[in-house]
Symmetry: C2
Subunit: 261 residues, 2 copies
Amino acid sequence: MHKKKPITVVKIGGNIIDDAQELKQFLADFAKIDGLKVLVHGGGKSATKMAQSIGLVPQMIDGRRITDAAMLEVVVMIYAGQINKDIVAQLQANDANAMGFSGADGNLIQSDKRNHPTIDYGFVGDVKKVNTTLLETLLNSGIVPVFCAITHDKNGQLLNTNADTIASELAIALSEFFEVTLSYCFEKPGVLYDAEDDSSVITKMNPELYAKLKAEKAIHSGMIPKLDNCFNSLSKGVQQIKIGHHKMLQNTNAVCTTIEL
Amino acid sequence: MHKKKPITVVKIGGNIIDDAQELKQFLADFAKIDGLKVLVHGGGKSATKMAQSIGLVPQMIDGRRITDAAMLEVVVMIYAGQINKDIVAQLQANDANAMGFSGADGNLIQSDKRNHPTIDYGFVGDVKKVNTTLLETLLNSGIVPVFCAITHDKNGQLLNTNADTIASELAIALSEFFEVTLSYCFEKPGVLYDAEDDSSVITKMNPELYAKLKAEKAIHSGMIPKLDNCFNSLSKGVQQIKIGHHKMLQNTNAVCTTIEL
């Protein structure tokens, strides 16, 4: 068997997207990553701002946006339009041959509308299937795919979808053909023991430590689905996962959290 | 030399996009076109409506939108986000493997910011170059490209670009590898002698007739750049051009205007 080619899947959070200078610096660093790469971006605050400016009242349950038809229009506009195309144009200026996608494009990511027993999340999708064959063709043509957090159900319905989940599902699907490193970039240098202390980075996280920190409530609610995603991805074939500030992409000595099984 | 494969490039105007039922019917017909195909869509009224709802005042000169930075954000959101992704999702539901693009994606269409001696059009682009090699790879992978009227300058700047021009530039570029039919679909059955009489379709338009009708002022201002584009495309290698209602896509006997050199 041939050794698999390495690929880097990077997910950036809203705080990078909301800060034009930080985004610019991130994209310059991302463009310099050697070899194959994929970018997944969340939404930032623009969708909420746009919704408010046209009179919609955003609804959240457990930190998740409830996506009614009007809000879906807004997130599609902002995520797949404004943010995605701005990122693609900037990467092109950095000589990365970026191409922006929702899951509907090329049926790259198909989802099921979430069917929850008690909460109606609205037009929210849970990833069902990644079109890895087409993705591999694109990557082998030198394309740098840039995914926004919108998917579809293949029946004409676009669906708002969690960007962390998209990143981990892409990483899992790609691990069939590639040796995948998945990097979650955000404003902090890693997962912290003490949320108030940026020097308290947990450099190695494994399931035992995770269980212990959850029991101690040292791991916060927003971090739990992120870490659950990570352990799930590792168990399904992803080679390596890192969480930290985007400077870890260019500086392999930068402090960050490495997730291990 | 091998015979070139046929390809159909279709451009739809704003009136189809603004009418959900008409758009749905058009997309079902478009999906059924045999063989390779490309769709180019204009913007419709949504961008103007969105601009107004967030307090922008659209400016037009000679029927062309003046695109300042705020208006560019709106057209990118609406054209590349809302309209493009809705069309892609609907085509996917019709089993066409659609993939939505701005010109920035894969550097498929690079433009120069318009430099006019007297009018500052703002962030408006004139097409400079089509990345035909990548487009051919995508088409040969079974992709149905769907282009919105946004391009970029390869230096990080997105640019608002006339959709008719994008359609004709794509058709010209593709004619190097394919036998191209370019179809402009709108709400009328073709170019009319009498704008008030839908039965007055000019079924064959050639340069002599065009010159005569322009001199008689029977051809309207909006139709002039469209027809200029058509004759330019034919002289540069496009095989066939049709203007008419989208029913001509499925019914080869439907009345329409065929443009000839």
